[in-house]
Every structure is written in C-alpha cells, then in structure tokens.
C-alpha cells in the first residue's frame, strides 16, 4: 500500500472576488521508502499539496489517502492521527525560546505514545542531535543558536518519533553545504533503513541526488521529470 495516494485532488482558496484554483486534478503516489522532491515556481501549489497530505488543511475534492485513511471529510481526531505519524519540517523553525533542545525533543516524544524513562528519552535525543551535529546544544536554548542550528533542532523534532512520512518545506534553505549534506544524507538513510517516505519541497539542487523522483509543478498541475 503506498504511503500517499492522491486522485483528482483539486483545491481552491476563497478570495474576496473569485476562488483561486491552486491545485487542479492532482494524481500522485508516494510509495513506502520513496524520496520525492517537488519543484516548481512560486505559486505552483507545492506547499498547498504538502499541507493537504499532512492533514493541515481539509480536502475539498478528489481522493487523498494517507496511510490508507481517506482525508476527504476526515474528522479532527483522524487528522491529528495523520499528523502524529508525520514529521513536518517547516521553513520557520518555530522553536519555543523557553525550551532547551532536549526539552523540545521531549515534548515531541509525548506524541509517540511510548512511555520512555527520562534517561532513555534523553539518550534518544542525544543520539539524533549527534547525527545532526548538534550534540553540544542538547541543553541549550534557541537564544544561543544560529538560524541554521535552530533549523537542525527543528529537523530533529520532526524525526525524533521515527515517523513513517516526512513532509519538508525547504529544510536546507538556512543550512551551509556541510550541514545541508548531513541532513539530506540522514533523510535518505531513513528511507533506506526504515522505509520512511519523504516528500520534500525544495529548490536546493544539493538534495536532488538523494531523490528517487523529482516532480515539477506548474500552475497547480503536476508533471514528472
């Protein structure tokens, strides 16, 4: 069963004058363990598709199945279940200034349903931050970090519960080459070792080599490259 299956998905934003169509008849499949990159000009509908798949918006028409669940008319509880199984990486890190990196990851781990002992949770956080080159910031707050470092904490937050689906919006935009490669390699490793499915919106060609497929979107429609 594919992780994501979209059929004839369309979406329009209500505006003051006429509705603005941003997605037109999208057919798309994301297989288990597949790494797909979405590219296209601004306004092509890439982010809107990401938000629909992640159950952050309600579907208007068509069929969109994520983990086998139909998102059309899905109740809020069902939407939360989808979100819990999805790791979101946003453009803005949106970290709480009041929380250390360890506390941020601990908060995310509350969603996993596992009752990890404090030491075990901390060890898991430490391991993931080490993989992202952020081990030294385990007990630091965002106030002492650069933008790129905060973004890596945000990436760790998205990955800490080993989600089967990762939706990423320009995750490497704020990162230098070395750290961008670190993140891409980590994500690629997840697809290979855990069967994680990844859908990434990016214009960063440093990521293209890791993708199984690159999909171009223009004016709300999808083409395969």
């Amino acid at each position: 069963m594919p992780t994501v299956q979209a059929q004839a998905v369309s979406y329009a934003f209500d505006t003051d004058t006429t509705p603005k169509q941003v997605l037109v008849d999208i057919d798309f499949t994301l297989a288990r363990g597949e790494f797909v990159i979405l590219t296209g000009p601004s306004g092509a509908g890439k982010t809107t598709l990401l938000t629909l798949i992640g159950a952050l918006r309600s579907l208007q028409s068509g069929s969109l199945k994520v983990f086998g669940s139909e998102l059309l008319n899905l109740a809020p509880k069902g939407q939360r279940e989808i979100r819990r199984k999805t790791g979101f990486i946003f453009q803005d890190h949106n970290l709480f200034d009041a929380l250390t990196a360890a506390q941020t990851l601990s908060l995310a781990m509350e969603l996993s349903g596992e009752r990890l002992a404090r030491d075990a949770a901390r060890a898991r956080a430490e391991a993931l931050l080490s993989a992202l080159g952020m081990r030294d910031y385990l007990d630091s707050k965002p106030g002492v970090m650069s933008v790129g470092q905060k973004q890596r904490i945000a990436i760790a937050r998205a990955l800490i519960n080993d989600p089967p689906l990762i939706l990423a919006d320009e995750p490497t935009a704020a990162l230098d080459s070395e750290n961008a490669r670190l993140v891409i390699d980590l994500l690629k490793q997840r697809t290979e070792s855990d069967g994680t499915s990844i859908l990434m919106v990016t214009h960063d060609n440093r990521a293209f080599h890791a993708a199984n497929r690159i999909v171009d979107m223009v004016d709300g429609r999808m083409a395969k490259t």
């Binding site: 938000t51 992640g54 918006r57 979100r83 709480f96 009041a98 506390q103 995310a108 509350e110």
Partner: protein
C-alpha cells in the same frame, strides 16, 4: 507533572521580567479589591471601636441607644443594680461626651480653626474598662488631677500635643498627663480620656453612656447573661462586645450605602484583574502563535494547548495575588497613616480574594484559548 503543565510553567519562567510585569498587571485588580475591603473593614472597625476595646464580657446600655454613636445615657443607679448579680465581679461605668480642644500651636492648624471637637471618655483609672494603653501608666496618668490623657492616634488637626503641656479643654487649661491609643472614626477626629472622678467634678449630673461588666473568675458567661437580663430594667439592653460590634456594623451598613459602594469597587477590581489577565495571556499567545501552530501541526490537540494556557492563567493568579497582597499591605498602611482609621489587609478575607482571582484568571484563560484554537497550522506554510 504533565507535559502541558511543564510547558506552561517553562514559558512563563523563561522571561522573568516579563513574568513580573504580567503578575503586576494581574496584581492591579488584587490591590483594588484588598484596598476596598480594607476601607470597608476599617470604617466598620472604627465605628465599633468602643465595643472592641471593652475589657469585660458584657456591655450594658440604654435600649434606645440604637448604635454606639447615639448619646442615650443610662442612669448610674441602674448600673449599680448589676453589681449584685451572682457571677458579676464589677460593673464599670463609662462616660462619654464631646468637648472643644484648643490647638496649642495657636492657629497653625490646617484650616486655622483653633478649637476642634473631640470625644471625651471618662472611667475609673483603677478598673480601666477600655483597653486604650498599658494599664499601669494609663492608670497613673488618669489619676492626676486637672489633667487628661490624649489619644496619640487622633488626626493631626489638633496640633502637636505631648505629655506635660497645658491644653485648653472646653476653654479650661488642663495638663496632658499621658498618651493613649484608640483612634478616630469617620465622624470624630480624636479622643481624650479623663478619670470619672475628674469628669464628675466638672459634670456632677453626668450619666454613663454604658457599663462594662466584668465577670468573676470561673463564672459561666451564659448563666450570668441570663441573670443580667432577668434583673435588667425594661429600658436596658445587655450585649457581649461581639454582639455590640455586629450590631454596630449592621447599623453602619444600613445608615449609608458604603457596603454597596465598596462592593462595586471590589467588582471593578475583579473586572480589571480579569481584563488585565486576559490581555497578558492574549499577548503571550500572540507572541507564540507560530509555535502553538507548530505544536498543533505535530498532532497535539486543542485541549493540550488549552491546558498550557490555563496553567499560565493559574500561575498568574498566584503570582498576581502574591504581588497584589504585598502592595495592598503597604497601600492600606499608607491610607491608615493618613486617615488614622484602622485600615489594613484582612487576611481572613485572603482566601476568598484568592479564589476570586483564580476564577477571574481562569475565565481570562478560557477567553485566551480562543486565540490558540484559531492558530492555523496550515498558515505555517
């Protein structure tokens, strides 16, 4: 501790200056409530002061004396009747009248009026039916001839009066033999004290305003009360100081709408506190809207975020209450010093005020969570 409580606490504790400012905002309402309560109880306590200071188990007075500020006297002969009641150790007459006290500074008072009205209490310097100072020095001061004791807590309109100086009382120069501690009320600005002997020299026909009944050691209070009532003439009433105080409070509240006025003031304080708490929580949520939207995108429910906000509301109710209580103690002390009224924070009201503050902050938190619920995770993209 649950994750939402922990998050709420950490968000508040992170910026301590901001927490202090948020607490101060909530504290404004608390101060208003406590000051209004202080004013109300200060006025009531001042009006009932004579009952509070009585050094006996009962007060005997004329039944027509509707409150402690009426001048209905009781014949001294009727008071002496109670001396024979079993269980009664003594009945101590208290005389009360008003006099003109001449400012010894010769016109350098606030409004240049040299003679100001003062209340005079006269009683036995041996029995001391009113607790207005240390017994030994008070007794010695009252025994001095051609003298009076001045209430140091009288309002400063009387000028600078100290023991040893001569001051005219009803245009008769008398020596100030000592200082007492009683305090004015909302009508009377000051008090002086004289021995009953000294008073009766000047007013031979004077009758007491009341009698303070002191019981013999081991006497049963209720039994003695029944005996006093049984032997009391029809125009005499017998009350405990607590009953007299309660009656006085009731009379004061009925005579003027102060209860309503101060209640409205307290409600205003609650409303202001609620609004302030809502404003600080709303700002807190608005400043973290992106973070709250992210938490929702991660899969946390609205009820989790509501718990974070309500945790902050509860903490603010506590810190706001504590801050407000501290300021209220100083504010009430300042007003008490200005007015010479017994205005202070009544800690027995504290638990009620705390409950009210908690309720108002929870209400503010409930309103603020609407803001959180409106946080759209899709807007993060």
């Amino acid at each position: 501790m649950s994750a939402q409580v922990l998050l709420g606490l950490r968000l508040l504790w992170h910026d301590k200056l901001r927490l202090l400012s948020m607490s101060a905002s909530v504290a404004v309402g608390v101060v208003i409530i406590f000051v209004e309560l202080g004013f109300l109880w200060g006025i009531l306590d001042a009006q009932a002061l004579v009952a509070t200071l009585a050094r006996g188990q009962f007060l005997v007075m004329n039944k027509t004396r509707a409150d402690l500020h009426h001048w209905d006297k009781i014949p001294a002969a009727e008071l002496t009747l109670f001396n024979g009641v079993p269980g009664v150790a003594k009945v101590m007459p208290v005389y009360e009248d008003h006099y003109g006290l001449t400012d010894p500074d010769g016109g350098r008072t606030v409004d240049s009026h040299r003679i100001r009205r003062v209340i005079l209490y006269a009683f036995s310097p041996i029995d001391l039916p009113l607790a207005v100072g240390d017994p030994a020095p008070m007794s010695a001061a009252l025994k001095m001839a051609d003298s009076f004791v001045f209430d140091r807590w009288s309002r400063p309109i009387y000028g600078h009066i100290v023991p040893g100086m001569d001051v005219e009382l009803d245009k008769v120069p008398l020596q100030v033999s000592g200082l007492a501690t009683m305090g004015p009320d909302i009508v009377n600005d000051g008090n002086v004290f004289m021995s009953d002997t000294e008073w009766l020299k000047r007013r031979p026909d004077a009758q007491p305003i009341m009698g303070v009944v002191r019981l013999a050691p081991g006497a049963d209070v209720e039994e003695v009360r029944q005996r006093l009532l049984a032997s009391a003439p029809s125009d005499v009433t017998v009350m405990t100081p607590q009953e007299a105080r309660a009656r006085e409070n009731n009379s004061t509240l009925k005579a003027a709408p102060i209860g309503l006025l101060f209640a409205l003031g307290m409600v205003a304080g609650l409303v202001i506190g609620t609004i302030n708490c809502y404003q600080v929580l709303y700002t807190e949520v608005s400043d973290h809207l992106g973070q709250y939207a992210t938490v929702k995108a991660m899969g946390f429910s609205d009820s989790f975020l509501n718990g974070v906000i309500l945790t902050q509301a509860l903490v603010l109710s506590g810190t706001g209450f504590a801050t407000g209580l501290l300021f209220s103690i100083f504010a009430d002390a300042f007003v008490a010093w200005l007015t010479r009224l017994p205005i202070q924070v009544h800690l027995e009201s504290g638990s009620l005020v705390l409950l009210a503050v908690i309720a108002s902050c929870v209400l503010a938190g409930w309103m603020a969570v609407r803001r959180v619920e409106a946080a759209d995770p899709a807007a993060l993209y």
